[in-house]
């Protein structure tokens, strides 16, 4: 068999069949292949040569990989840590989470700045402000009102409480880390950098307990105001912020935190509705 050098040359049916069956080799197969690159007709003819089931299976796997690649990196990271797909998605989907995180980082940075530059009594300022940060950011992450899709999400079988808790936890932990870093700006790295943790835990958990009854914003504002007021009163009594370091303060914080936690667990067993928050 020799050459038809005219443009518009097509391998005829037997030639294509030979190619598909693997009977053509080297240059002959090569010329069919080179031709196919420029010929939609022959490409279409070759479509039946590969079983549809094989092509479908590969396509499904391809779609899967494209879906996976489309997921945002934090979600893929969580998936690699073994977090359930639903949990990872639900955790990261709402903008309220990003908002809370940003808030935590910015506020902590400002606090650090304040401590380093402006405060005359950095320890006191730190102890006053530090517990408020996890409180505020957790409230932001927790508030269903800040999750635009909450109405739809609430009607799904997914346990809403689990979601809100996971978000609060994620944000709470982040803000604790952020504040701990801000604490590095304190002049003396002493016990001040640690004693704020229990009061912070107590305040934050208290807000989460009160939020379903009062609404997240009122609960957060109320608890924050109470903390500031308490400090104001004790300040006037001459106690300064040192009282926080005392065993009494730490003990009360611990008890309060534990009680709040217990209340939360009890309350959330029956609460996974939208509520008014």
């Amino acid at each position: 068999m020799t050459v038809t050098p005219a443009a518009g040359w097509h391998p005829d049916e037997p030639a294509l069949q030979d190619y598909v069956d693997g009977h053509l080799t080297g240059l002959s197969a090569g010329s069919v292949e080179a031709h196919v690159l420029g010929c939609p007709r022959c490409r279409a003819a070759l479509r039946t040569a590969v079983p549809a089931s094989r092509l479908d299976r590969t396509r499904d796997l391809l779609e899967d990989r494209l879906d996976q690649a489309a997921r945002p990196r934090p979600e893929r990271g969580l998936a690699r840590l073994g977090v359930d797909e639903a949990d990872a998605r639900a955790l990261l989907a709402a903008p309220s989470l990003r908002l809370a995180w940003t808030l935590a980082v910015v506020a902590a940075a400002l606090l650090g700045l304040l401590l380093a530059e402006a405060a005359t009594r950095p320890d006191a300022v730190f102890l006053l402000v530090a517990p408020l940060l996890p409180l505020a950011t957790t409230a932001v992450a927790f508030a269903p009102a800040l999750d635009p899709a909450f109405a739809i999400v609430a009607a799904t079988p997914y346990r809403t409480v689990r979601l809100l808790l996971a978000r609060s936890l994620a944000v709470g932990l982040t803000s604790v880390v952020a504040v701990a870093l801000a604490a590095l700006a304190l002049p003396d790295r002493d016990v001040t950098a640690v004693v704020w943790l229990l009061p912070a835990a107590a305040l934050t958990l208290l807000v989460l307990v009160l939020a379903p009854q009062l609404g997240t914003a009122p609960a957060a504002a109320g608890v924050a105001a109470a903390w500031v007021a308490l400090n104001g009163v004790l300040e006037r009594r001459g106690l300064g912020m040192d009282w926080v370091e005392g065993a009494a303060a730490q003990g009360i914080s611990a008890v309060l935190a534990a009680a709040a936690l217990a209340a939360l667990v009890h309350q959330w067993a029956g609460l996974d509705r939208g509520g008014r928050a």
Partner: protein
Amino acid sequence: MRGPQDDAALLRAVADGDRSALRALYDAHAPWLVLRLTRRCHDPELVDEVVQDTFLAVWRGARRWDGRGEVAAWVWGIGVRRLLDALRRRPQAALPLVEGDTALVVSAEEQVLLGIEHGDLGGAYARLSPELRAVLQATVLDGLTSKEAGRLLGIPAGTVKTRVMRAKAALREDLA
């Protein structure tokens, strides 16, 4: 029948993030790609994996297509390089690139590519030594660079170039 303009339009849509356009490209091009890869790799699972890798790369790199030439040729360029990567992971899966020839069907394009006017090209090609045929297949037919062909065949890029020259010279002499 889908023409070259349609493929170009599809690829532009893919560059814009249109998944259904990618699906259409897959339907049109996966079959011939499977066949062409199979002639170079006898492991069907690996071939399927390479097909996936190829279209994934098409999805990611659609914006980089320069808009010239055949979309299919561009896809093959991606596919053969993905095949190279896969074969490096599992070298035993490759088919030898050199075989004996039986019946020959030669196109005009091939002759032009090899710089040869006329004559019994197929026979002359068959009379080449295996190493010379291998470099011709890799560079001329598969479109690999000298460096890539070298990596595939396990020889330096320089050697690839000299062998291609020797092969073309041998063919010209044989057909003269």
